[in-house]
């Protein structure tokens, strides 16, 4: 009998949902535009980049704008969710110190809150895709698109499982993470096509999980093609062990964590 044993027959989904809802509410509490900020933020960035590249640099890639919008929406979800996930323990310290809640519940609820904002943005994306571009994706393509979204979410959660407990101990992790996010933004084919990158560098970009997700999500939704099964298998073979590893790291780092908050 080594570990503290807690029986709790009930699932935690209500707790996760309630915390996520509260986070979303509090985020836009008192702001004039409220929930509209969820759309406004990626959109304003989209407008700037779109203007710069379509007009000034005369980007000729077909469907450039919608591809850019999609990349930006996926990236801003990733950015928002990893930051929220990293801050989750520190922000929820007052709860963690007083009540027993599994650590993963806190992390998931913080990322779900970003996920809600993401879903709002998807509605806009589909609106543009169908009404403005006249692209009606196949049912299977939409299914594949959401499969990639789930993969992206797993990457996000996996990263948060490591950064959340680490941030409680090393408080400059948020600065480091901000820089890494910048690097990732420029190192992913968000505002440029991957084909524009010369070869040795392109292989490096392919090692970035975000490249895989964004490229295939675009292929599915905009080009209506689901191919490269070898890519999917390789990606899963890397993702699954990494995710399991992150759970193990969370468990390791969480021991005696509350005392340090």
């Amino acid at each position: 009998m080594k570990e503290t044993h807690h029986k709790r027959g009930i699932p935690y989904w209500d707790t996760i949902w309630m915390l996520a809802k509260t986070d979303l509410k509090m985020r836009y509490e008192g702001s004039v535009l409220g929930i509209i900020w969820v759309f406004l933020k990626p959109f304003s960035i989209f407008l700037v980049i779109n203007y710069v590249f379509s007009t000034i640099f005369n980007q000729t890639t077909p469907n450039y704008s919608i591809k850019l919008l999609m990349g930006l929406i996926l990236f801003s979800f990733f950015q928002d969710a990893t930051i929220n996930g990293m801050n989750s323990f520190v922000n929820k310290a007052s709860i963690l110190k007083k009540v027993y809640i599994p650590k993963w519940v806190i992390i998931i609820s913080s990322t779900v809150h970003s996920g809600i904002a993401f879903l709002f943005n998807l509605v806009i994306l589909f609106f543009f895709l169908t009404v403005y571009y006249g692209i009606y994706p196949h049912f299977l393509s939409i299914l594949m698109f959401f499969y990639y979204v789930v993969l992206l979410y797993l990457v996000t959660v996996g990263i948060s499982f490591i950064t959340a407990p680490l941030y409680a101990k090393v408080r400059d992790l948020n600065q480091i993470w901000e820089v890494l996010l910048q690097v990732l933004f420029f190192g992913s084919p968000i505002f440029y096509p991957i084909t524009a990158v010369p070869y040795p560098v392109r292989s490096v970009l392919y090692a970035n999980p975000f490249t895989y997700i964004i490229e295939h999500a675009r292929l599915a939704l905009i080009d209506n093609s689901i191919t490269h099964w070898d890519h999917h298998i390789i990606f899963l073979c890397v993702l699954i062990p990494c995710f399991i590893g992150s759970i193990w790291i969370l468990k390791k780092l969480s021991r005696n964590l509350i005392e340090q908050l």
Partner: protein, 434 residues
């Protein structure tokens, strides 16, 4: 695990590392790269083993820093024990603090839902209990108001009524009972008694002897992270009170007594100023001459004439007050006041009231002895000494709450900070003779 046992703790140990300097950023780590961080280990709990039976009211008592709260947090699963472990049979309600997760920007209703889900309730359960929670809190008309607009009393009422509706088999409580105004407190205690009668297991942490004595089946007395005593409440409490008194030297006692009194005073000054003793300094027609007479000491002696601050209820004791006169004085009145922890006067006497004339006194020491039958209830009392002239115009010295003594009664623990008068109790059952 045995069916009868709700919680079993086996050799639970917990220590905290207290670094001498906190290194939270990488820069600090780099700057002090060569220097090793030094830690101080604080053993909060040392090898604690006990069992809590189902349906038992189990109290944990101990002074600040004795490890009570750490133990409770380990039972709740918030901290993990360094060694040993805890087994819990049944769902535990983490009742450590009221209103966990309360958000001032949300309405009362949203806060009920938020707090309840954090405490482990599911949405459909809250839907079912919602009306009852609101009714109990008596906040029906304010429930859609934001929490920040509530008074602190209202917030506590909302938190308490949410907490009691979690309805788990095992409750952990860390001194959450005294909440709200007097009327609401009565309600809380009645619901509290109902919970106890419903046969739930309760682990209660407190240093309030009255509540512990009233409800507990067994008491665990923690001292410096170790079990000092585990068993009957009366035994545990008298041990607790006894060591409490023995460990503190006289000066510490006075400091503490003064601290408590200061707190109490600042709390009540606004409303009850007229009931407080008139301070000679602040009254204009009272002359104040501190230099002529010094109050040297106040000492306590028990029945066997041993000097002690720990006095037993039901026995005679003596208070010796020593004055030092620097001038020849005539017809002085010497007196004492004994007050309890709440700064209530429990007993006042002086040489004038006792018809003793002090006559003419040469410079030197004067010793006044009071022999008193100890009818004080268990608790802590302070003694103030005074010396004045017979006109009540000139106060030569007035030392408020100069020293403290402790009263204990190992056999009977019923009332505190009051009088425990000699009496007999009988039941005369008219309907059932014989």
């Amino acid at each position: 695990m045995n069916n009868e046992i709700a919680i079993r703790a086996d050799n639970v140990s917990k220590s905290f590392l207290i670094p001498h300097e906190n290194r939270n950023t990488i820069r600090e780590q780099l700057l002090r790269f060569r220097k090793k961080t030094t830690y101080e280990t604080f053993d909060a709990l040392k090898d604690i083993s006990f069992e809590v039976l189902k349906g038992e009211f189990f109290s944990i008592i101990g002074r600040n820093g004795s490890g009570k709260s750490t133990l409770l947090k380990i039972l709740a699963g918030i901290y993990t024990a360094d060694k040993g472990g805890v087994k819990v049979d049944g769902e535990i309600s983490p009742f450590l603090e009221l209103g966990v997760g309360f958000n001032p920007e949300l309405s009362g209703k949203d806060n009920i839902y938020l707090n309840s889900t954090i405490l482990g309730l599911q949405k459909h359960e809250i839907d079912r209990k919602y009306k009852s929670i609101v009714d109990f809190s008596e906040l029906d008309q304010f429930i859609d108001l934001k929490l920040k607009n509530y008074s602190s009393g209202m917030q506590v009422r909302l938190a308490f009524s949410t907490a009691i509706h979690t309805n788990r088999e095992i409750l952990l409580m860390d001194e959450v009972l005294a909440v709200g105004d007097a009327r609401f407190q009565v309600k809380c205690f009645s619901i509290f008694e109902k919970i106890i009668k419903s046969g739930r297991t309760i682990v209660f942490v407190s240093h309030d002897p009255i509540a512990i004595e009233k409800y507990s089946n067994r008491v665990l007395y923690l001292e410096n992270g170790e079990i000092s005593y585990l068993g009957s409440p009366v035994e545990a409490l008298s041990k607790y009170m006894y060591t409490d008194a023995m460990k503190e030297s006289q000066s510490e006692q006075v400091d503490e007594a003064r601290g408590v009194l200061d707190e109490t005073l600042s709390d009540i000054t606004e409303e009850t100023e007229e009931f407080l003793p008139i301070n000679p300094v602040s009254s204009p027609d009272i002359e104040h001459q501190q230099d002529i007479i010094e109050i040297e000491s106040i000492r306590f002696f028990d029945q066997e004439n041993n000097e002690t601050n720990l006095l037993k209820n039901g026995e005679k004791f003596r208070i010796d007050v020593e004055y030092n006169l620097s001038k020849t004085m005539e017809n002085l009145i010497y007196g004492i006041t004994i007050r309890n922890h709440f700064h209530h006067d429990m007993f006042i006497t002086n040489t004038e009231a006792d018809n003793i004339s002090s006559g003419k006194r040469m410079p030197g020491k004067v010793l006044i002895s009071y022999e008193i039958m100890n009818y004080f209830g268990p608790g802590k009392y302070t003694v103030s000494a005074i010396v004045r002239d017979h006109t009540k115009r000139i106060f030569y010295n007035w030392k408020d709450d100069f020293v403290a003594f402790q009263v204990h009664n190992p056999t009977k623990l019923i009332s505190f900070q009051g009088m425990d008068l000699p009496h007999s109790t009988s039941i005369n059952d008219q309907n059932n003779p014989g």
